[in-house]
Symmetry: C2
Subunit: 184 residues, 2 copies
């Protein structure tokens, strides 16, 4: 198990409306199931397109509690799309971290530990969907075909989904210790 | 994603006393957190030796809800130890399956689907501990050093731990569909 020390550049949540777009906060509170009040909070959720083995809408355990993006990978997506910036808000991220090489490829089973004692468990890569592309297109009405471009531009750069292993607060600017899991 | 069709040879639970040793049942009922009444049931559990990143006893999310062994791997452990049989009860298994090649190496993220709709999510290999070796030694008082032998004999043959993704009953003799997860 190797260890990486990185920075929590931003913490975010989607608690304002029915959109997955998130807003920055000074801190978020993790509990079992995610961030209370966030659109993705819950110990269970309805199965969707990512779980074709279940009828759509079947109640299953929620492993997609928290979405984390890498600042470096967001910069790469922006470059791939010819945009100046890609904000984590547009992709519905709950955290933006800087200093984890190839965050999206972080092995499932890796852990992210925060100074409060809060801890996240990496469930794996967040597979692309078109939702964020539509948000980005709506924000850049003068540029063509951004929705379609996004999926390709963000491939393997969409960060990870995590579940809460240990509750606690996480603050903007917190150091994060990433314990990289090695598959045996 | 590849698919394997296998057989649930036995379902078991530890609901009799304070031991991890399990007993066979005609069926078990899976709920979020495991098998209600089983010694390992719960959405949370205290951190132990397998989670050195937490102070011992810290409450964390429970991913060790269900333990599954392979019949073929139990036969291999018995052979390695010079015993006639290794029963899944002694290792505290909740299920014994037959027909999954190298079950212990099943990729985390794989799913086991049962006819009722119940589903388990593979959390990874169950790392050896000495508890089952002590049970096996106590049952074979005439044979020397079985406790120590067990850890080596069972290395990478100790099966997997799972969490419940979708509740429901599982019956002895049920067919199980194993959806093997491929890491991208």
């Amino acid at each position: 198990m190797s260890e990486i020390i990185a920075a929590t550049e931003a913490v975010l949540l989607a608690d304002c409306s029915d959109t997955f777009v998130t807003r920055r906060a000074a801190s978020i509170t993790l509990d079992y199931g995610g961030i209370p009040g966030d659109i993705h909070f819950g110990l269970t959720r309805p199965a969707g397109a990512r779980e074709p083995m279940y009828p759509r809408g079947t109640e299953i355990f929620n492993r997609r509690q928290i979405t984390i993006l890498s600042a470096e990978e967001c910069e790469k997506i922006a470059e791939n799309m010819g945009l100046e910036t890609i904000l984590p808000e547009w992709l519905g991220a709950n955290m933006l971290v800087r200093g984890v090489p190839a965050l999206t490829q972080l092995t499932p089973g890796s852990r992210l530990l925060f100074p409060s004692g809060a801890s996240l468990y990496c469930e794996g890569e967040n597979m692309p969907c078109t939702g964020p592309g539509e948000v980005i297109q709506a924000l850049h009405p003068d540029l063509p075909k951004l929705t379609a471009k996004f999926v390709k531009a963000a491939y393997h750069l969409r960060g990870i989904v995590c579940s809460v292993e240990r509750p606690g607060p996480v603050h903007e600017g917190d150091t994060v210790r990433v314990l990289v899991h090695k598959l045996s």
